[in-house]
């Protein structure tokens, strides 16, 4: 496997395409797997993902295929960019073809709805691979495909995985930072989508920048509190996967989750908002899963609760806001980090 010259991306959505685009800068051959034959043909003949990245000319090193076995064979490094809803199903298929020395990286930021398992857990359960990692951070596909500078975090317990991803992906426009806290990075990536929805609501509701900053700062506390329960490192949330991603996603129209929030304020139902986006907004599913989990574990998450009430229970924003502002005052900082002697 070490002599292989190809890397693979499973999933041809906008982020999968962006990863393939970055990889093609350094790799001789980047295979991208997707089901839709029309997009496969479009990539292979016109070098364009006509549906998810129209107008972007993809390097000729990118070869699209709908044959999963071919996509996986001979690749030492495999990125999996599949929505959380169908992640396990595809992971099971991947499991048929991968060997133990191949590295699997998830780029999906979400949880499995029924089990609350993370994407790395699903890869570990459904495939024989052990060297697994998660890529996260403020990474809008559009900006990556436009060649703008970007930073990502690769989280894995294996140094080898971190090094291989840095080597394969790092380049002129992207910096890749390593982190051993896989759980923290995955939680940060998934949870921030909820707050992006909330930010969209605040923005469209005209509640101002102060309110948005208040929400983002308290979201960080909430995220750390939640993650602490799962033995993740709260300091991970101060990094690129936490605060970095939160800033980007809560302030940009490029965020699908942010747009979901905005569309709800504009009066669309959740279903119509999702349809109008046209792509998967993971935060919608994550919101439900996290709300249920936090309730069952007794973790205090007022912003998650408030967002849930607006998105799923159709409560009015002024009513929810009033409740939120009535919560007793607390200390600003919940976690203290001690400096080494």
């Amino acid at each position: 496997m070490a002599t292989s010259k190809s890397v693979t991306v499973i999933g041809g959505g906008s982020f999968g395409t962006a990863i393939a685009y970055l990889l093609a800068a350094k790799q001789e051959k980047v295979k991208i797997w997707l089901r839709d034959e029309a997009i496969v043909n479009s990539i292979n003949t016109l070098h364009e993902n006509s549906r998810y990245a129209p107008g972007v000319i993809l390097p000729s090193a990118i070869i699209a295929t709908s044959n999963l076995e071919y996509a996986i064979a001979d690749s030492s490094l495999i990125f999996v960019s599949i929505p959380s809803k169908s992640f396990r199903k595809v992971a099971t298929e991947i499991g048929k073809y991968v060997k133990g020395d191949q590295i699997l990286i998830t780029t999906t930021k979400g949880f499995e709805q029924d089990t609350f398992k993370s994407m790395t857990e699903l890869l570990a359960e459904e495939t024989p691979c052990l060297k697994i990692g998660a890529l996260s951070g403020p990474n809008f596909a559009f900006e990556i495909l436009s060649g703008m500078p970007v930073g990502s975090v690769i989280a894995s317990r294996f140094n080898e995985v971190i090094e291989k991803v840095q080597e394969a992906l790092g380049g002129k426009t992207i910096r890749i930072y390593g982190n051993e806290d896989v759980c923290g990075v995955e939680l940060a990536g998934a949870l921030k989508n909820i707050y992006a929805i909330c930010a969209g609501i605040i923005q469209a509701g005209g509640f101002g920048e102060n309110a948005k900053s208040l929400m983002i700062a308290r979201a960080l506390s909430e995220m750390s509190r939640f993650a602490f329960y799962f033995k993740a490192n709260p300091s991970t949330f101060l990094g690129l996967a936490g605060v970095g991603d939160l800033i980007a996603t809560c302030n940009s129209e490029l965020s699908r989750n942010f747009r979901i929030g905005r569309k709800i304020v504009e009066g669309l139902s959740l279903e119509d908002a999702i349809t109008s986006i046209g792509q998967v907004a993971e935060g919608v599913y994550t919101l439900k899963a996290v709300k249920e989990k936090a309730d069952s574990l007794g973790i205090e998450m007022p912003i998650v609760n408030a967002t849930y009430k607006i998105v799923y229970e159709k409560q009015t924003i002024p009513m929810v806001l009033e409740e939120l502002m009535a919560i007793p005052h607390k200390k600003d900082i919940e976690f203290k980090f001690t400096c080494p002697d």
Binding site: K96, G100, L130, S296
Partner: protein
């Protein structure tokens, strides 16, 4: 190890450890051979400083003083020689022997020894045939035994039991013997080798010496290499991955990965030499209706965890009394033990099928040699291998949870303790166990046990845990009276007695120990909700 293998294996341990230490110094910018020798001598002298003046300790002091004296004037070649001598000193101390004749003789005594401890029979009946049959009834051994036996013929086993009691080695030794599993070598505390007769027996039963007071890294490396090389020679091994006995009564939550990694080392070494070595890890739980050291263990735990919040009654006569009580009571108690072997795993934590092939969760075969490739060839990788061993450790912990057998004593203690927690809302558990006594209504206990029983049955049906025979087959009334009889027969009436329609306990510490076994199963939330309506 058999005598014919022992010398060769010991030489191999010395050679391998020395080579590793030299390679480590070469690789590392910060560590030199001087550091390794000096650290070891310093820690050994510190360990010996307060030891009593025995012949063995005097010999040790002379050895380390001599090493220190030579170290200060040595050149590099001489320092390497010193390092080799230190390693040799450790390797010779650790190396155990194995004599099939002594093994067969000793293992025949074990049932009677167990009987003396567990079965309520007069001592004169100790060696009767019926006595042996009785002990078989008291030990319930379960798990995929045929599969494990088959795998033991195709490769080398590492059995990794939970560790609750000093009797674990006897119980597991007996269990492997009567199920037809092969003999295993295992690390035993150095203190067990001080008596010449016991030392002879231990050595020939396959035990090698482990001195837990030696904390230095070099000693741990020699120990690990001894285990690894014994696997290479095909000796089935037994490690307690938790390290020491569980003080709290809880199932292990964390494992010590040092020795556990020796299976992987043997596998990689074999692959590098072109040899395929099949090594199978067999998690195993040992579950006691009564743990004979329960009270001592939980007190140690409470003192350590509770800090100032838990103050142990200052009664120096307790220890002597306990020893006498122990001798007297062991012949009175008729108690049960459940030994449950889990599904065998490979050294990466994957399950293996009947043919010994590693499989994934969809029963698809896995080529595990792929895991250890570095640039296309099998090799060691320190950081990677540490993570692999940690993955294996997590799988063992999961197996422990799934295959732990909840006994009636755990069950009753859990129900009672939760009622007391609700009824006496102290700010923490340490204050609760320090109280003199607690009581609960008989009717409430019956209802609570009934409620919990239903939850436990559901969990058992989902494969989340196992239940002992009393819980599985008896009514709520019978479970309570059986568990109460067990607890009081060994730990005394103060653990639980009935008075005016109330259940009273003046020994919450012991109840807390048995209660802890059930804490990882997430029963608390449902039970608290239920108790909220009742208490």
């Amino acid at each position: 190890m058999r005598r014919e293998d022992k010398e060769k294996a010991t030489d191999q341990v010395i050679e391998q450890t020395l080579a590793e230490q030299k390679a480590y110094c070469k690789r590392s910018k910060d560590i030199t051979i001087d550091n390794i020798i000096y650290d070891t001598i310093y820690l050994e002298k510190k360990r010996l400083k307060n030891k009593k003046n025995s012949k063995h300790n005097r010999t040790e002091i002379v050895f380390w003083s001599e090493m220190e004296r030579r170290f200060y004037s040595a050149n590099l070649t001489e320092k390497e020689e010193i390092l080799k001598e230190i390693i040799e000193n450790y390797a010779v101390e650790i190396a155990g022997g194995y004599n099939p004749k002594v093994y067969n003789f000793a293992i025949k005594i074990v049932p009677y020894l167990l009987k003396a401890i567990l079965v309520k029979e007069p001592l004169w009946k100790l060696f009767s045939k019926k006595g042996k049959e009785k002990i078989n009834k008291n030990i319930d051994i379960s798990g995929p035994l045929d599969k494990i036996l088959h795998l033991s013929k195709m490769g080398t086993l590492i059995v990794t039991p939970t560790h609750q009691s000093n009797f674990d080695s006897i119980v597991i030794g007996y269990s492997t013997f009567i199920t037809g599993l092969p003999p295993m070598i295992y690390g035993a505390g150095l203190n067990l080798f001080t008596n010449p007769i016991l030392s002879y027996m231990m050595t020939n039963l396959g035990a090698y010496k482990v001195d837990r007071e030696k904390k230095n890294e070099l000693y741990k490396d020699v120990l690990k290499n001894y285990a690894s090389i014994s696997l290479e020679y095909g000796y089935h091994n037994l490690f307690y991955p938790g390290g020491t006995r569980s003080r709290s009564g809880k199932i292990e939550e964390q494992l010590k990965l040092g020795l556990l990694g020796s299976g992987l080392s043997t596998f990689i070494k074999g692959a590098k030499e072109g040899k395929k070595r099949n090594i199978y890890v067999v998690p195993c739980t040992i579950n006691y209706e009564l743990c004979l050291e329960a009270r001592d263990l939980i007190e140690e735990y409470l003192v350590e965890e509770g800090s100032r919040q838990f103050i142990l009654p200052n009664d120096s006569s307790n220890k002597i009394k306990n020893i006498l009580a122990f001798a007297k009571k062991t012949v009175k108690v008729d108690t049960r033990i459940a030994v449950c072997f889990g599904e065998p795993l490979d050294i990466f934590g994957n399950e293996v099928n009947e043919e010994g092939i590693s499989i994934d969760n969809h029963s698809r075969p896995i080529d595990i040699e792929k895991y250890i490739l570095v640039d296309g060839v099998p090799d060691f990788s320190f950081q990677r291998d540490r993570v692999y061993t940690s993955i294996l450790g997590n799988k063992i912990l999961k197996s422990f949870l799934k295959n732990s057998v909840v006994m009636d004593t755990h069950f009753l203690s859990y129900a009672l303790f939760k009622i007391f927690q609700k009824k006496y809302p102290f700010s923490n558990v340490f204050k609760l166990v320090s109280t003199f006594g607690a009581e609960c209504d008989k009717e409430l206990l019956l209802e609570t046990v009934g409620f919990l029983k239903e939850i436990l049955f559901r969990k058992r049906d989902k494969g989340e845990l196992k239940l002992g025979s009393v819980i599985s087959t008896k009514s709520v009334d019978e479970i309570i009276s059986h568990a109460k009889r067990q607890l009081t027969s060994y730990h005394g009436e103060s653990v639980l007695y009935e008075q005016n329609g109330l259940f009273v306990s003046n020994d919450l510490i012991t109840l807390y120990y048995y209660h802890n076994k059930l804490t990882p199963y997430g029963l608390e939330k449902d039970l608290n909700l239920w108790l909220h309506q009742k208490v």
